[in-house]
């Protein structure tokens, strides 16, 4: 028994060695800092250091929940993320299928790159592009409204359109990344499936619903579980910069990250900012584990772990 394990170890030794750098990276960057979680429960001061600072119970978490806006903030964060996950995945899959059917190689590259480009643009720049469209004074939308004889809208004071604007902006900016992964997944599908389907006279739509979609389900699930883990986080830039931090829009743009930023802008404190981070991670962790468990129940081979 023992010699067998040794022999096995010897066989796999090169693999274990290859694992060391990655493991070291993971431990140093992702595991050791985790001990910092205690800061969220401490009244931190630099003289006593992290471990000797006095305990503070759950007091650091108080400001997150006692606020009257707590409900709005949690609702916004979760619902926007759910909408983002659905919209970005659906649009991403449609775009990926369409791009994969482009036959001309250089055009294919062009489409692919142009969809990815917004992903690489800083959110501050995006916020100014949106401002160029929505500005009350000089915005393009108001210019169109005025030209067609309608009253210009107060975009940054009217909450009506913002859920839509944010979803569209987020999709425009973020969809390229998912599309790229789906293109890779579709490229990996064996071509003989399609040839067989064509021989049997399957239409393009039938090919998509019966071959392409079922084949990329594992990618969809992986991407989805990963985004679910970040459901309690929000893209600070998207919710702070893009609405130009307009107070009138807070009821539809205030999320956990912007709330924490605004609350702690005056008096910081490591304890309370860590508390927000801990809460976000814990909710994300619970959700990832439960969604994965759900997936495992429905189709075992598609679960991540």
């Amino acid at each position: 028994m023992k010699s067998k394990t040794l022999a096995k170890l010897k066989d796999y030794l090169p693999l274990y060695l290859m694992m060391i750098p990655g493991l070291a990276y993971l431990i140093i960057n992702n595991y050791i800092p985790m001990f910092g979680i205690v800061v969220a429960f401490k009244k931190f001061n630099v003289v006593d250091g992290i471990y000797r600072s006095p305990w503070n119970g759950l007091k650091n978490f108080e400001y997150l929940f006692t606020s009257n806006d707590a409900g709005t903030i949690i609702r916004n964060t979760m619902l926007y993320n759910v909408a983002f996950i659905i919209v970005n995945n659906v649009v991403g899959i449609i775009l990926a299928i369409m791009i994969c059917d482009v036959l001309h190689d250089s055009l294919k590259k062009l489409y692919q790159s142009s969809i990815l480009l917004p992903f690489l643009v800083s959110i501050v720049v995006v916020s100014y592009i949106v401002f160029a469209l929505l500005s009350h004074e000089n915005g393009m939308f108001n210019a169109i409204l005025k030209a067609s004889g309608k009253d210009p809208a107060q975009w940054y004071n009217d909450t009506t359109w913002w859920p839509l604007i944010l979803i569209v902006v987020n999709c425009w900016k973020g969809v390229g990344y998912g599309t790229l992964i789906y293109i890779a997944a579709i490229a990996g599908i064996d071509n003989s499936f399609y040839e067989a389907a064509e021989l049997d006279g399957a239409s393009k739509l039938q090919q998509i619903t019966h071959i392409t979609l079922p084949c990329i389900v594992p990618s969809i699930i992986t991407l989805m579980i990963m985004s679910v883990g970040r459901i309690f986080y929000s893209d600070f830039g998207l919710f702070y910069q893009v609405p130009q931090n307009s107070g009138s829009l807070y009821s539809v743009t205030n999320t956990i990250d912007t709330y924490v930023y605004r609350a702690l802008i005056a008096s910081g404190g490591i304890g309370r900012s860590s508390a927000a981070g801990v809460l976000q991670s814990v909710v994300g962790f619970v959700l990832v584990v439960s969604v994965n468990a759900l997936v495992r129940k429905i189709s075992k081979e598609n679960a991540i772990f």
Partner: protein, 507 residues
């Protein structure tokens, strides 16, 4: 097998974790030295290196030359070296919290008033009161203002030498202002603000009539945002001493008739189209807006030589219409203080250096204007100006940040200012009305949770109401309700309690 690996890993993790926990510092030895007499400078010992963090307008190419010149100076006068850490404001905001919480080497840095409570609570900074013996020159330079930096019995740090009040003013383009036949005196009135706001409205109407496409008022401030100009907020806007601080009753300014009046004036400007319709979401300063060429005026803090300063920033000659009377309150002195970090390895030396920095003419010139002969020269009037062939665009080092350096009055004023500018400043400061709570600073630690929520509420409403973007009655009602729901009364009560206690101790 895998279990063994797992347990090994866990053991490793705990070892690393416990090692990283052992970084707490022992600061007791410094404390003993603090009570001793200030010693003569010992030129035989190894020079101590001061880590001096300061703010700069931009990173200059001559930084290294400035560093060398500073070091030469300090080695000669103090037997110390200086590690200069220049930071732009953006870098400062993002880097400083990390430097402080990780206990990085740092001796002296500028701290902003809204951070004091956190810094004290987290023990990032030293109580300057313990080292008073080493800072005698600072007390001499600052006078009564040296004692303004107390939170309770903790002396946070020392103020810069600058103007001691933040009156609001309307900065207007001079060409249009004069073309329309106005003079600054036209706006004076015998009310508590010294200005007739109706006349301002008339001015905007006249500008609009003459230049229909021009925006009369833009930027990031207006009367309702200038909370430091019309009363004493004692550290934050939640709980206010109205009427230039000539009262000791803490009230909610946002409920006052004054704030309502300001909001209504702005509402009139907004609905009449004098103000940019984007003003509540705009984050560009008035200087930038005027520089762009289509904006007539903006509101900001003003001081005796504002018109000279703004000429450089806007590219236009400007006139300043005062919108409030000058007043002095603690915050005007302590908005930012030079503090000594607890991470300092030799706090006595740090205080000796700080003390010296308030006296040294050369040092204040060096950090503000750069190396003499290279970045600036003295002209025949005794003012600093660019040397031949050097201008604002190719100069290697130039900050004009005197307001945040120890003592700009020790050094040279820049050309364009009157030669007696420091006398004008001194006279201006001496004639400023003083808040009854001058010297008191609110300690926000007992109500931190409420403050965090109030900040969030304030951010939501203040711009829309102050700029008149939304209906005043509805806006004020919602705003005040949200403030009280977030615990405003508790903060006001706590502020009143601390103020009463402080007042009782003053007698």
């Amino acid at each position: 097998m895998s279990k063994k690996i797992l347990s090994l890993l866990l053991a490793l993790l705990f070892v690393v974790a416990s090692l990283s926990g052992c970084t707490a510092k022992d600061s007791s030895s410094d404390k003993d030295a603090a009570n001793g007499e200030p010693s003569e400078i010992n030129f035989d010992e190894e020079p101590y290196t001061i880590n001096f963090l300061y703010l700069v307008a931009m990173e200059g190419t001559d930084q290294q030359k400035v560093n060398d010149a500073v070091n030469e100076l300090t080695l000669k006068e103090l037997n110390m070296k200086v590690n200069m850490i220049p930071m732009t404001f953006g870098t400062y905001m993002s880097q400083l919290p990390l430097m402080l919480s990780s206990g990085e080497d740092l001796d002296i840095f500028p701290a902003m008033a809204n951070q004091f409570a956190t810094y004290i609570e987290s023990k990032y900074i030293v109580n300057c009161d313990d080292y008073a013996a080493y800072t005698k020159d600072i007390y001499e330079v600052l006078g009564e203002d040296a004692a303004a930096g107390y939170v309770g019995d903790f002396l946070v740090g020392f103020s810069n030498v600058k103007e001691r009040s933040y009156p609001a003013g309307l900065v207007c383009r001079k060409d249009i202002f004069e073309e329309l036949g106005y003079k600054v005196e036209d706006f004076a009135a015998d009310n508590q603000y010294g200005v007739d706001f109706d006349k301002i409205t008339e001015l905007f109407a006249a500008v609009k009539a003459k230049y229909p496409d021009m925006i009369c008022l833009d930027g990031t401030s207006t009367m309702g945002i200038q909370t430091e100009s019309y009363g004493d907020n004692m550290g934050n806007v939640f709980g206010y001493l109205e009427g230039y601080g000539q009262t000791t009753t803490v009230t909610n300014w946002f409920e006052s008739d004054e704030f309502r009046m300001f909001a209504e004036i702005n509402r009139e400007w907004f609905t009449s189209g004098y103000v940019s319709t984007d003003i509540a979401v705009n984050s560009d300063s008035g200087e930038i807006k005027v520089k762009a060429g289509n904006c007539f005026s903006y509101i900001t803090n003003v001081k005796p030589n504002t018109d000279i300063e703004k000429l450089a920033q806007t590219g236009y000659e400007v006139v300043v219409v005062p919108l409030s009377k000058p007043m002095k309150h603690t915050n005007a002195v302590t908005a930012d203080l030079l503090v000594v970090a607890n991470a300092s390895k030799d706090k006595v030396k740090a205080f000796q250096f700080l003390n010296w920095s308030y006296k040294s003419k050369e040092f204040n010139d060096l950090i503000n204007w750069g190396v003499e002969g290279l970045d600036w020269v003295e002209n025949e009037d005794g003012l600093a100006c660019y040397p031949e062939g050097v201008d604002a665009f190719n100069v290697g080092y130039h900050n004009d940040f005197g307001f945040i350096y120890p003592n700009q009055m020790a050094g040279h004023p820049w050309v364009g200012n009157p030669t007696n500018i420091w006398d004008i400043y001194a006279e201006y400061n001496a004639n400023t009305a003083k808040s009854q709570a001058f010297g008191f600073m609110f300690n926000s630690v007992p109500v931190e949770t409420e403050i965090a929520q109030l900040n969030s509420v304030y951010e939501q409403y203040y711009k829309d109401i102050a700029f008149g973007v939304i209906d005043v009655d509805q806006g004020l009602a919602d705003f005040n309700k949200a403030l009280y729901d977030a615990g405003l009364q508790k903060v006001i009560d706590e502020k009143q309690r601390q103020l009463d206690e402080w007042l009782a101790n003053q007698k």
